[in-house]
Amino acid sequence: MKFGVVTFPGSNCDYDAYTAIKVLGEEVEFLWHKSSDLLNSDVIILPGGFSYGDYLRSGAIARFSPIMKSVKEFAQSGGLVIGICNGFQVLLESGLLPGALLRNAHLRFAGKYIYIKVENNSTIFTSACQPGEVLKIPIAHMDGNYYNFDGEIEDLKKQSQVIFRYCDKDGNINAAGNPNGSIYNIAGISNKEGNVIGMMPHPERAVEDILGSSDGLKIFKSIAKSFSKGLVIERA
């Protein structure tokens, strides 16, 4: 299987994502924002960073780049897309995922290791995790405060679209474990179909023990595992 990592002007986790896939042992290639060619990738990674300087709103301008037109078509035809941090913001602005990310409730940049609980391990992106597993993964963001209206949060819960929630070291979901004020401690969600996921924590920065944690690798391993089980992606 082949991963494609999109580079926008201002992306700064594209090389981390590329390296994470190398650690995973799969094929990976960079995709340029001005191109509309996904180079036959099976999975698209929208990496973290400050695409287009975060001007206007995080992710608001990246959404209109030529590559995103292709990514949107790819996602809508069932292709796998994972947006990390700024990539999550781009997916929300594109309408591929529901909701929005507001400024952190405490108004400070949050850069540290946090814990997230795997709320749903039956997804393509979490199939290698245990139910309720606690992952240690770093965050690094200013606008990570997930917001959506009450009714929509209920829909996300009902449809098992809440994939990761911030928690403490022991897996308790509480205010102390919530680094940015996100509603329902939401750290990552998927679309209804389950082929698009967005998350604020950076799994690509936690793929080797020397980095402080290798828990992030489980997410990429999950994708590979789902793929090897014969996941068929229909391309438009």
Binding site: P98, L102, A105, L107, N145
Partner: protein
């Protein structure tokens, strides 16, 4: 044909948390002004528009809803000036 000017005001919808507004309100209270009950922050854009007529106005609305505001959390108002 002269350019016309549009001003777009983007505001957070009612009920959407505005941490910046809350912090600004706290600063105002700390300054000793106790009459301010709440602050909501927003942003505005000034556009100079080349085309005129209704069709042009519709396109400006599109710009506002597709790019300048995020309809999930924000509303916008559009004002024209000759």
């Amino acid at each position: 044909m002269s350019n016309k000017k549009a001003t777009v005001f983007v505001r957070l919808k009612d009920g959407v948390l505005d941490p910046q507004g809350i912090t600004i309100q706290k600063a105002i209270l700390n300054m000793g002004y106790d009459q301010v009950a709440s602050v909501r922050s927003g942003r505005f854009f000034e556009l100079e528009i080349k085309t005129e007529g209704e069709q042009g106005d519709k396109k400006i609305e599109e710009i506002c809803s597709k790019l300048l505001s995020n309809p999930v959390i924000e509303n916008y108002t559009l004002e024209y000036e000759k």
